[in-house]
């Protein structure tokens, strides 16, 4: 997948309730397990989500993220453990009595009702007065810029507009928690990117807690305050997008989020403050800064992102690590190019460089011999 290194989220001291031990989470999963017959969809999962968070559940299909969301909405109940919402257990409470609304992947707009009636549907169930309903629906239409489509039926509007109707409908009841199931999956790339920022904007304006399910890591990185990376019903890592990307805690997370080089080797400490990984007899070891907590001689995986590696014709002297190799392949992506470089021992390393110059003046081409170099702090050591 193409890597668009995005601007990091706003400084983390602005909104980090998960770092505040006094903060009360809005949602608590306590040792939740969900089985479908023999199949374990969610495996003893404990997680806290805080108010006003934009929380992303990220993982491949079948990892249990949708099951988690459906348990929050009340369509599935946990086989074991419990889910608390605002401190209250949700066990046995049907979907229609939860202060939770969901935006469905298929949008699930009622085809026989107009856009206006779709948005009013939930409000009508609350026995609100006509004028209160009308005021709220109009507010939602304004928020999602759908005013001129109010009288249309869902099949008379475009996919992007349908997506906004679904959002408006699920926000109309001002839920404590909004669940979004792959909300942008059906939109094309350009519209998806625009809508991501719209979603963030709306989330900020309404102050609602959003939980989004997605398999698109770029989407999760863009919108979320925190990401839970899931695999086989377990949460592998919960962290801010920047931390998940720069400091993955496992090979799985490093590999799932973005592009990465994984180099296996043996860890050693030749001197007290220096660490290194030897991955091949013929290559110099990878120098690291102090990496506590890993035993001498342990087999580890060194993960380094392609964009952290510089490609140059001459051996640079300012960086701690350097390796010599030959360019096998170049992937040109417009903004960046990815170089697949084969080292002398056959190890393939991907390096990404921004294309600050036009193609005709690019420095390297196929079969060029180049130096790859990176800092001591560029990569992460992952224990097995």
């Amino acid at each position: 997948m193409a890597e668009n290194p995005r601007k990091p989220k706003p400084p983390t001291d602005v909104f980090t309730p998960w770092e505040d031990p006094a903060a009360k989470p809005l949602i608590e999963f306590r040792n939740v397990t969900k089985r479908f017959g023999e199949f374990v969809a969610i495996d003893d999962l404990t997680i806290d989500i805080y108010e006003r968070e934009f929380f992303a559940l990220l993982g491949p299909s079948g990892c249990g993220k949708t099951t988690m969301m459906r348990m929050l909405a009340g369509f599935e109940s946990p086989s074991a453990g419990e889910i608390l919402l605002g401190g209250k257990s949700m066990v046995g409470i049907p979907p229609n009595e939860r202060p939770v609304n969901m935006m469905f992947q298929s949008y699930a707009l009622f085809p026989h009702l107009s856009v206006w009636d779709n948005i009013a549907f939930g409000l009508r169930r609350d026995k609100k007065s006509k004028s209160a309903i009308a005021a709220r629906v109009d507010e939602m239409l304004r928020l999602t810029r759908l005013e001129q489509f109010a009288r249309r039926k869902p099949h008379q509007i475009s996919g992007g507009q349908r997506q906004r109707v679904a959002l408006a409908r699920s926000l109309a009841k001002a839920p404590k928690l909004l669940l979004l199931d792959e909300p942008l999956g059906a939109l094309d790339r350009k519209l998806r990117e625009e809508t991501q920022f719209e979603l963030m904007d709306i989330q900020e304006k309404t102050g609602t807690t959003f939980v989004i399910v997605t398999h698109d890591q770029e989407e999760a990185m863009t919108v979320a305050s925190r990401i839970a990376v899931m695999e086989h019903g377990k949460v592998m890592q919960v962290d801010t997008p920047a931390k998940v990307y720069e400091m993955p805690n496992s090979v799985y997370v490093a590999d799932f989020i973005g592009d990465v080089n994984l180099i296996e080797g043996v860890f050693s400490r030749p001197a007290p403050e220096t660490c290194q990984i030897t991955y091949d007899e013929s290559e110099p070891p990878i120098h690291l800064d102090a990496t506590p907590g890993i035993a001498e001689g342990a087999r580890v995986t060194y993960a380094i992102r392609p964009e952290k590696i510089r490609v140059s014709a001459d051996r640079p002297d300012d960086l701690a690590n350097a390796a010599f190799g030959k360019i096998i392949d170049i992937g040109y992506l417009g903004d960046i190019s990815t170089y697949h470089v084969e080292l002398a021992n056959g190890q393939m390393v991907k390096a990404a460089m921004t294309n600050s110059t036009r193609v005709s003046r690019r420095e390297f081409t196929w079969d060029d011999e180049v130096w790859l170099s990176w800092r001591e702090t560029a990569g992460v050591v992952l224990d097995h």
């Binding site: 909405a73 369509f75 469905f104 992947q105 298929s106």
Partner: protein, 296 residues
């Protein structure tokens, strides 16, 4: 040219098998009964040329239609047919909806089997199936024997030769015509719509009323017309299962035609029946048109 031929084919079919017979029946209904073969007059005699056509034309009148209004038997039969058709359509809908709903919610691998079970009765002759109901509903029939055997009743129930038997027969016979369009409509229903309704504050029951029923309305309308229209003219079921007090226009028509040999009055009865049915048929077509529009 080929396109015209393609379009012309169904029109020729309709012309030959619907419109021409209709004109013949219409003509007979305007004639007078006669002791002749065929038993009506005038008949068109083209050998006499223009004068023959004029004679034929002047022999036609609305006498038979006027006659239908003079005898209360006819409008009572029409009304009774209408009542039986309306009630049995309603019962068929009430029985058919849960069946169709259950089928549409059944697991995928079961659906072809269930569908087959609905169609299966068509593999046996309609007449044999109606006769079988005689054996079930008779005074000494299976139903009474079972109920007496179970001790539910002490005296046999009189069902056969009453309107109840007619309703049972009609609902049984026409159920597939109701179930199939309902199933087609309900099968398309997306489960996530019901979940969305629940999520927005509906109970299951409320979601059924607000989502399932409106979205299966096309099936309800189609099924109801498919039952109502043929039941209006139904003849076999009231004859075999109904009693002497079961009045249906189909039976009257048969008697006029075969017992009375009064072809012109029988034809007039048929034409009026058609006129009564034109109204729901037009509504039905309008409904289909609306569906077509909303699908595109």
């Amino acid at each position: 040219m080929r396109r015209i031929a393609l379009i012309a084919l169904p029109y020729l079919w309709l012309l030959a098998l619907f419109f021409v017979p209709f004109l013949i029946v219409l003509k007979i209904s305007l004639s007078d009964t006669a002791l002749a073969i065929p038993p009506y007059a005038p008949t068109l005699d083209l050998s006499e040329g223009w004068a023959g056509i004029r004679d034929w034309w002047s022999g036609l009148d609305f006498e038979n239609y006027v006659f239908l209004t003079t005898d209360s038997l006819y409008w009572k039969a029409y009304l009774s047919s209408l009542k039986i058709a309306v009630i049995s359509t309603a019962i068929t809908l009430l029985v058919g909806y849960p069946i169709a709903y259950g089928m549409s919610r059944a697991r995928d691998e079961w659906r072809p089997t269930l569908l087959m079970l609905v169609i299966l009765p068509f593999w046996t002759s309609f007449l044999i199936r109606v006769y079988a109901w005689k054996a079930i509903l008779a005074q000494e029939g299976f139903l009474n024997q079972v109920l007496i055997g179970l001790g539910v009743i002490s005296e046999p129930l009189t069902i056969l030769n009453t309107n109840t038997a007619v309703y049972i027969g009609i609902v049984y016979t026409y159920l597939p015509f109701m179930v199939l369009p309902l199933y087609a409509a309900l099968e398309k229903l997306d489960d996530s719509l019901l979940e969305a309704a629940e999520d927005l504050g509906c109970t299951r029951m409320k979601a059924f009323w607000l989502i399932t029923i409106p979205l299966s309305m096309q099936g309800i309308v189609a099924g109801s017309f498919l039952v109502f229209i043929p039941v209006m003219g139904e003849f076999v079921i009231p004859t075999l299962l109904g009693g002497s007090d079961t009045l249906m226009i189909g039976k009257v028509l048969w008697e006029e035609f075969f017992s009375n040999r009064d072809w012109p009055v029988a034809s007039a009865v048929a034409i009026v029946l058609l006129a009564i049915l034109i109204f729901p048929i037009v509504l039905f077509l309008k409904n289909e048109e609306k569906q077509w529009e909303s699908d595109t």
